[in-house]
Subunit: 272 residues, 2 copies
Amino acid sequence: MIQDAPIGVFDSGVGGLTVFREIMRQMPNEKIVYFGDTARVPYGSKSKDTITRYARQIVRFLQTHQVKTIVVACNTASAYALEELEKELDIPVIGVVKPGARVAAEATRNGRIGVIGTEATISSSIYSQYIKELNSNAIISGKACPLFVPLVEEGLLQDPVTDEIAKRYLAELIDIDIDTLILGCTHYPLIRSTIAKVMGERVNLVNPAYETARELKGMLGEMDLLSRSQPGLGSNQYQFYVSDKADKFIRFANSIIKYGILSAKQVNIEEF
Amino acid sequence: MIQDAPIGVFDSGVGGLTVFREIMRQMPNEKIVYFGDTARVPYGSKSKDTITRYARQIVRFLQTHQVKTIVVACNTASAYALEELEKELDIPVIGVVKPGARVAAEATRNGRIGVIGTEATISSSIYSQYIKELNSNAIISGKACPLFVPLVEEGLLQDPVTDEIAKRYLAELIDIDIDTLILGCTHYPLIRSTIAKVMGERVNLVNPAYETARELKGMLGEMDLLSRSQPGLGSNQYQFYVSDKADKFIRFANSIIKYGILSAKQVNIEEF
């Protein structure tokens, strides 16, 4: 039965595990196949053509697992490749950008919304575009924060250096008095407390990972694609694939997800 | 004539341009074809198998330009892939690690040498291995500095944040009283002044880019492979290829090389 097929989730690397984690929490009956493109990470500084080519290869790989839907758990890939994937696929695809944009458009009181993300996500203006469709009076300001990902990957989650970099990146968003800030990169929820401290408690932080899982659940429910029962023991409920060696991925993954990730398999993604 | 063939130089991205720059300076008669793997950068956090697969593809690309020799202008690729490439190729190949190791082994007075580089370069222990062959009494200490590349790429060449990160990374090398430090990543010469300030003037900094160009010149001379005359106007003395969009590469390249880099071409490197 199609309802028992897994959900395919992919990201440039480990960041998308924050989305995986939300799907796990909100839909405990679902099987998930996760792919992290660790051999080509990061995506945030690369071009639209390159990201789209990578996304297509990953989708072809996920389809070998008969996934019932695909979640693009990476803001950069959602910004650059989602529209193409939607055209090309006959299963539903969901990205992290639209759900985040929708909540921000609803949450703002003064109409001033900030978006932080990779260079690619910010220069695509994709959040701005979606928010404007829902709230044409909103003023959206984007700011690329290229050091946040390496700081998170270096483990400096609570550190004076991360505070200092956050102050510099966020100063212009504070100056224009935004009341809502979208964490437009899957790594950023991991330094949420630093960002919250710098922005102050009046600013509402939107985590698209949470909203994406919620929207995915609604969409699968409407399409009658939700799994009807908890997968049995030994059914490989969660499967992890990466394009580089698995050991580093497994260490990082186990640091952010409670579920013991016993193994991940390496795939030569260029062959797909 | 084989002497008129170009030198092939490759790197994971822009860092290898510091090696390119030295070859230009020391061998102004040579043609150079440079390849930067900007679609898959960085290499420093990836595995040996992945780096070796990437290096082989790039070598196949460079060979379509009938290069007379190949310079692996990336410490990580030199650490992981050089030995394989040497076995497989019938033209001379040179990496940046051996020349840097040789100078450090000769320069040290107290026998204590530090090496800084990417995670991959440091965990390969390749510098240590080469230095030990030349000076078996040397004590070599490696330290991975994963934030240096993103800090350089963010333009924080002289900045309190870079100072602070450098102090943390280098503290253990200062504690053990090294007198020689190898800048084991092609980006690091761009923050040489910060590193020098933290290490103090008693520590000798070794830039493998300079040594590599010198060694390359000696090797080509011995093999009678040096170009005999300056290439004529319109001969495309320097050609640049990248695996992602060229515009960003061109901007960065022009910021570190005096020669006006008029253009770079994008190549789908996965097809090689």
